[in-house]
Subunit: 364 residues, 2 copies
DNA sequence: ACGACTACTGAATCTCATC
DNA sequence: GGATGAGATTCAGTAGTCG
């Protein structure tokens, strides 16, 4: 456990902190943040002087050493900020990091070495990438995001049903097709030039935050830039913390954030699956008289079982819960009894799950 | 310079060498191979069984060759084979490595450390990936390939125009959409079971070899398996060398190769093609800011519904997709939400389908 | 011949509350 | 903290059978 001074006791919510992200994160309380979104620099300093993390200059002797020293420096930087980030994450927190082939392999390996648990790598397919002008390589049409939990045991947030809804009813895949940030969304400086070289599109953050946070969650961006993370977080009713070194980016981000109008609260309520609904023991249906002890249930193949007064089933072979008996009949490892069994009304098979729906409706 | 004995002076062209790939590559003459394609073990780290919702068991990759004690062990293995591979590459040679998020970050970092020069990372988007059965993560719908030259100074082979032609006249991008290997292409053993758990599709190798080799080039595959690399190399008039440890895989590959008929020289640029109208989820319009969560849609009779952040609609009665809510309002069995709903701009009703057209235009 | 229908499959780090 | 048991969870495609 780290001793935290009083200055570390509170989170600077919905604001931008100026400074080096490692130092600033070390000053934040540990286990306090739900999600981190990071777009780190990937300048590998392949040209010019090289410096070790502590500042000394590397005396490059040949190409191999030059390259190695450069990667070593970048790795040290990566390990340092990932360690500081992991400390401020809640135990069930998660991180997203975005990068290109220049740096993402080093970041991914460092994530694994630091104890993060990779959940998916996600490909952002750009609909409108910059072409390869010289025709010497493939058009670099994507970037890679890594989604990782703080640890293997983290029970991370994943709004499966919301993302499935965003994808019109089929599971969200690990490849996302979205345009780059351009047009009105792209921030311009006073000179009309783009305010930040690598501004990310809001659509990308929308999908990240809808999928891996809930309203009210705290989202930290240690490389805030011009504040796309904060902008989308504010729109979606999440809290944000931004860390940025350059005052010019902070100024642009502050101005941008001041113009953001959050969505209505009702619109933030997102599709939920059955997992979020209250549990209803099967015995409740018997207690309430929706099913009678002695009544017969059937599965889709016509196999029958009798209901007993305590809410267990009794078939030829076995007695047990609706799940256990269903699994035993099919020789399956498990079974959802709610969708497996039906009762008979007016000669028709009616799924018992409809009775559970009835009970749940009463509970509201 | 390494002293090469006479036994190392010749290349075992168009044949499979049985043995450990590191030892075998160390026995090959240095600077003798044009391209390496490597599909190393992914180190999946699977734990228990996984079952599909209907109860069947997923046939997982649990082979001995994919088990490593730790990341350190895996890294040592990776560094060793990458070093041996780099020695046999010609100065202008290149390498392709394929992997998933389990291993690709470690492989990519090791490639960079070993002095290879990354040219592109390429995403193989699977049209038909295995779903995520438990709904706990995104569907793992892609794998990653890294294309790297032996060194920064290598003048590597890149057939820009051939790939452009394969891509119907526009530059080949870094994301490739191809189906997984199934059906008749998938090799089966005598028992009818798949001969290799991770056989790659020939279409993938086709694109790799057309793009980065010339006819007559020597292609080495240190993890030959059932020989997809050799098969496509032979079809395309390239020479191949396969290295494989398991005799069962070698037997299957030999038989497969014996059936391969090389293409006629004129027939190299074929295949590919199918391109239908891309599906656009309604949620995409929300993510991209074309419609706001909280905004109201209307049908032709003026009935209204509100948009939520995940792209679902919320009316008086019902919450669901644009199609579901439209159907419910009309009491119809189904409904095309795209033509059913309009949004309001400047007091005018505008069909949401016009926004879909806009997105589709970007996707082409 | 063709359509309807069933069965099967793919590199997968795939649960969680309660006792 | 480990064991137990409820119960939630799938997409695109191929191949084969039957009518």
């Amino acid at each position: 456990m780290t001793q935290s001074g009083p200055e570390a006791a509170t989170l600077p919510l919905d604001s931008i902190v100026r400074g080096d992200c490692i130092e600033v994160m070390e000053g934040l309380p540990e286990s306090s943040v739900d999600l981190i979104f990071a777009d780190p620099p990937y300048n590998l300093q392949l040209k010019g002087d090289l410096h070790r993390p502590e500042g000394s200059r590397v005396d490059a002797v040949d190409d191999d050493w030059d390259r190695f020293a450069s990667f070593e420096t970048y790795d040290a930087f990566t390990r340092a900020w990932l360690k500081a980030a992991r400390r401020v994450l809640k135990p069930d927190g998660a991180i997203w990091v975005i990068g290109s082939y220049h740096n993402i392999f080093r970041v991914g390996a460092s994530l694994q070495d630091a104890g993060y648990w990779i959940l998916n790598d996600v490909v952002w397919r750009k609909t409108n990438p910059m072409p390869n002008f010289r025709g010497k390589r493939l058009t670099n049409a994507h970037e890679t995001l890594i989604w990782a939990a703080k640890s293997e045991k983290s029970r991370y947030t994943f709004n499966y049903d919301a993302l499935k809804a965003l994808n019109e009813g089929t599971q969200m895949r690990s490849d996302w097709t979205l345009p780059i940030c351009s047009g009105h969304e792209r921030l311009k400086g006073a000179d009309g030039h783009k305010a930040h070289p690598t501004q990310k599109p809001q659509s990308l953050l929308h999908r990240v935050l809808v999928g891996s946070t809930d309203p009210g969650d705290v989202v930290l961006d240690p490389f805030f830039g011009t504040g796309t993370t904060g902008t989308v977080a504010k729109m979606l009713g999440r809290r944000f913390i931004g860390i940025e070194r350059e005052q010019a980016y902070i100024d642009a981000a502050e101005e941008r954030l001041s113009r953001v109008r959050p969505y209505e609260k009702a619109a933030l309520c997102v599709s939920q699956g059955k997992r979020s609904e209250p549990r209803v023991p099967f015995g409740t249906l018997v207690e309430r008289g929706l099913l009678r002890p002695g009544e017969t249930l059937v599965n889709s193949k016509g196999v029958m079982a009798k209901i007993r007064a305590d809410g267990t089933l009794c078939s030829d072979k076995l007695t047990g819960s609706i799940h256990q008996v269903g699994a035993a009949i099919d020789g399956a490892p498990s079974c959802n009894g709610w969708t497996y069994w039906s009762f008979i009304r007016d000669g028709q098979r009616v799924p018992i799950d409809s009775l559970r729906q009835q009970i749940r409706a009463e509970l509201i």
